[in-house]
């Protein structure tokens, strides 16, 4: 077991290259300048921004509104970003680099909101609350990716699994009129696809990107086929029982945090539960060590008596399970009925969140929250009567994904043996 852990320990010591350090700093400085020049300089000194701090339709954990002087707030945000950027260029933050760019991004987003809502009122708590909800499929998608990739299998078919699960959940949930059975149906359909992925990638050693694409195309076609053949003619098949809001006693009464985190539906709590289980299981248990060793150095793991093939199947199946929950969220936790192509790239954004979060559950959660927030801004700002076309707001999560990938990848944190079929000698 020591060899395996040494291999894993060895990989964690990774520095940040000088050009990357400088580029990050320059980006942070640019963010600071953008906040000042684009937002602060165009806001007059007397304007106030009003943020409502309780989501609509909730009567637990109320909080008073925030009223901020727009220009002052924006200037402070700009200064924070500039200071972080300067320090990054001169000294560098080392392992805190990702966190710091995160803070700058948050400053930019918050600054943008302050500027957009100047002289107006914006329900910030409502936005955060819907951000948490929107983060659910992305974060769960990232967890699904982590489970497969830590065992050495690239799973780009999370999108397809989610789509299939969302339909299966809707149909089973409608027929049985039971949301729990719907969830189970979604999970089973997704595990079925995961098994196909596993057999293709592990047994037949098909290139994992291609076997993932097979599943994505299959899901897109199959869900559209069933939807047009059955669901559209028979509304009773597409009207599932949903998981409703479930305020957690006590916790839901905390101001601001209560309504946002603890007055949500089951899927939000499942997301936090899986986060804790995954973080502990991966890094504190023998099971997690074995899974990771198979993804890092399958040969060494095999030498030590770990069944590489079995472990990889387990990783893929668990990946399917989590993707199934993420898919069921769309129909049982959010929209309430199946629509063709309703996952809208969330599975792929989940993969980006996984990379952004360094294949760590906690990091993936943070990244997922960021993407969810970017998504929430779009829908809320169009209500404010923003001058920015809604299509551009809708591009934000995709753009952020690309920037994140460009900025954070290539540091050697991906499981070393992912994508390579294992052949026993």
């Amino acid at each position: 077991m020591t060899t395996v852990s040494r291999v894993i320990e060895h990989k964690r010591i990774v520095g940040i290259s000088t050009p990357r350090k400088i580029i990050m700093g320059v980006v942070e400085i640019l963010i600071g300048m953008l906040i000042y020049l684009a937002f602060a300089a165009k806001t007059s000194g007397e304007t106030l921004t009003k943020f409502v701090m309780t989501p609509g339709g909730i009567d637990q954990g109320l909080m008073a509104d925030w009223i901020l002087p727009s220009k002052l707030t924006l200037t402070i945000l700009a200064v924070i970003s500039l200071a972080i950027g300067l320090y990054q260029v001169i000294r560098g933050f080392g392992k805190w680099t990702n966190l710091m760019i995160g803070i700058c991004t948050l400053s930019l987003i918050f600054g943008f909101l302050v500027w957009q809502a100047a002289d107006k009122s914006l329900n910030l708590a409502g936005m955060l609350s819907s951000a948490v909800l929107l983060a659910v499929p992305i974060t769960l998608g990232a967890f699904s990716g982590i489970l497969a990739e830590r065992s050495g299998i690239i799973n780009i078919s999370i999108e397809g699994m989610m789509l299939m699960a969302s339909m299966a959940a809707a149909v089973v949930g409608s027929v049985t009129k039971n949301a729990w059975l719907g969830l189970l149906g979604g999970i089973l359909s997704s595990i079925f696809l995961a098994l196909i992925l596993g057999v293709l990638s592990i047994k037949y050693k098909v290139n994992q990107t291609i076997s993932g694409t097979v599943i994505n195309i299959f899901s897109t076609g199959m869900t559209a086929f069933i939807s047009q053949k059955f669901l559209q003619h028979n509304a009773a098949l597409n009207n599932p029982a949903m998981f409703s809001r479930l305020p957690l006693p006590g916790l839901a009464d905390i101001p601001l945090i209560g309504p946002i985190l603890f007055n949500q539906n089951l899927f939000v709590y499942l997301m936090f539960l899986i986060l804790i289980i995954l973080q502990v299981a991966l890094f504190q248990t023998r099971w997690g060590l074995r899974l990771r060793s198979v993804g890092e150095h399958p040969k060494a793991a095999d030498t030590l008596g770990i069944d590489v093939i079995k472990t990889r199947y387990m990783g893929v199946i668990l990946s399917g399970l989590v993707a199934g929950i993420a898919g069921a969220f769309f129909t049982l936790g959010s929209v309430g009925r199946f629509e063709e192509g309703m996952t809208a790239g969330k599975g792929f954004i989940g993969l980006a969140a996984m990379i952004f979060g360094n294949w760590m559950p906690l990091g993936a959660m943070g990244a997922g929250a960021l993407f969810g927030f970017a998504d929430a801004i779009g829908s809320k700002l169009s209500l404010l009567g923003s001058t920015i076309p809604p299509q551009f707001m809708a591009m934000a999560p995709y753009l952020i994904t690309m920037i994140v990938l460009a900025g954070f990848i290539g540091k050697g944190q991906a499981p070393a043996a992912e994508g390579e079929p294992y052949e026993k000698e």
Binding site: L200, Y204, T209, I210, G345
Partner: protein, 424 residues
């Protein structure tokens, strides 16, 4: 020390030369290569037939009466559906025969229209399939063909309607070129990101797809909208001089674009297999490490390959606008970009194979439209069949075990696709 270096150089040279000899098409028998795709297609169609039977309520009702009735009902439904697929795709043989006999030119054209329409449907597939195949050949997985196609179409549309008074022999090529350039630009961005930062092209091209959809949505409902459309996201109609000509009077849509596609396929084949640049590209694709030792610039070839792949995708969009639709709307593509992945793989990422696979899928999709009308089977069944065919082509061992084929002596060419971290 120096000796060792020399050895390494020699080894790399050997490896590169070997790569070249391996891809020499003449060495393998034709059917041997085509056996797997053909059997995969057959199996895909059989599974499609099963799907038709399994999702039909009348089949279940007939099985409720007796097993024999159930089977006969299932076969008759499959028969009706696939007959509609065939007549919709190729034409009604009896009518075609009679038409040729009667000698009426209008009747002949109409009888053969399903076949011609299949070629019309194949045209964008050829461009898009070539785009993906070119990417695969250089070790890149371009899932962004759909987005590149939309941007290409938007550029071609813009040049097509905004410039007036040009003669057709300038305007039409110009609009087509604009489409290619737009697609090339959309492909260049993920190529650049891959080469310079290692951001994986699979995610980046998918993100670029969504950005392209939103961008065209905005363009068509804003700057490029048709003034009299009343808020509908649709572009103005292109000028007559920008149109790619159709050969026959309406409703037959067979157009010059089909032959442009064949010509482009030839050019791609020539570039890939007859030029040094193509050899470099394929070397980077099959063995990036050897390529780097040999002094080939992987960054440059990644960017070039993605741009070229994007350009081909852009042509697919341009040809649809200039030859068929004549104006741009959001429902431009029926998923050409995703279908093309299957096409490229079924065609073994070889231009000739891609053209054949594209014609097959254009035919299938054209026939499926009629099948939808006749037996109300959703057209998306083509996607399901496609995924199954792709699965069998990617895992030939399954097909071999079903049909008891022997394993080939020569190892199959493997497409090289990298993990998230890039190879740098």
């Amino acid at each position: 020390m120096t000796e060792k270096k020399k050895d390494l150089g020699q080894e790399i040279l050997n490896e590169i030369n070997q790569d070249q000899s391996e891809t020499e098409p003449a060495k393998k028998p034709f059917l041997g290569k085509a056996a797997i795709p053909l059997l995969a297609i057959l199996t895909g169609l059989i599974i499609g037939a099963l799907l038709i039977a399994l999702t039909s309520q009348s089949v279940y009702a007939a099985f409720g009466e007796s097993i024999g009735k159930g089977f006969s009902q299932a076969f008759s439904e499959i028969g009706t559906a696939y007959k509609a697929l065939f007549t919709g795709a190729i034409g009604d043989p009896v009518r075609m025969f009679n038409a040729v006999g009667s000698g009426d030119s209008k009747e002949i054209r109409q009888a053969f229209n399903p076949f011609l329409e299949s070629l019309v449907q194949s045209t964008p597939y050829i461009f898009a399939g070539l785009a993906v195949a070119l990417g695969f050949r250089s070790g890149l997985f371009n899932i962004g063909v759909e987005g590149q196609l939309f941007i290409g179409a938007a550029c071609a549309t813009f040049v097509g309607y905004s410039i007036t008074g040009l003669p057709a022999w300038i305007h039409m090529p110009l609009a087509f070129l604009a489409g290619a350039l737009g697609g090339a630009f959309w492909g260049f961005i993920p190529g650049f990101l891959k080469a310079k930062t290692g951001g994986h092209e699979v995610i980046n091209t998918i993100m670029m797809n969504w950005i392209a959809f939103r961008l065209t949505e905005w363009l068509l409902s804003g700057p490029m909208t048709r003034p009299e459309s009343g808020g509908m996201p649709i572009s103005p109609i292109i000028e007559k001089s920008a149109e790619i000509p159709q050969f026959f009077p309406s409703p037959i849509r067979f157009h010059l674009g089909f032959f442009i596609a064949l010509a482009v396929a030839y050019v791609i084949w020539w570039v890939l297999f007859k030029t040094t640049w193509g050899l470099n590209l394929r070397t980077v694709g099959t063995n990036p490490r050897a390529a780097r030792y040999a002094g080939l610039s992987t960054t440059k070839s990644i960017m070039l390959a993605m741009s070229l792949s994007g350009a081909l995708a852009g042509m697919a969009g341009a040809v649809q606008i200039l030859a068929v639709n004549r104006s741009m709307a959001l429902g431009l593509s029926s998923g050409y970009g995703f279908d093309s992945i299957a096409l490229a793989l079924i065609g073994n990422t070889h231009p000739v194979g891609v053209v054949l696979a594209s014609i097959l899928f254009g035919t299938l999709r054209n026939g499926a439209t009629r099948m939808m009308v006749v037996s109300s089977i959703p057209i998306d069944i083509v996607d399901v069949i496609q995924a199954i065919i792709l699965m069998f082509v990617a895992a030939p061992a399954i097909i071999r075990s079903i049909y008891r084929l022997r394993k080939p002596k020569q190892e199959e060419e493997q497409i090289f696709l990298s993990g998230w971290g890039g190879q740098s």
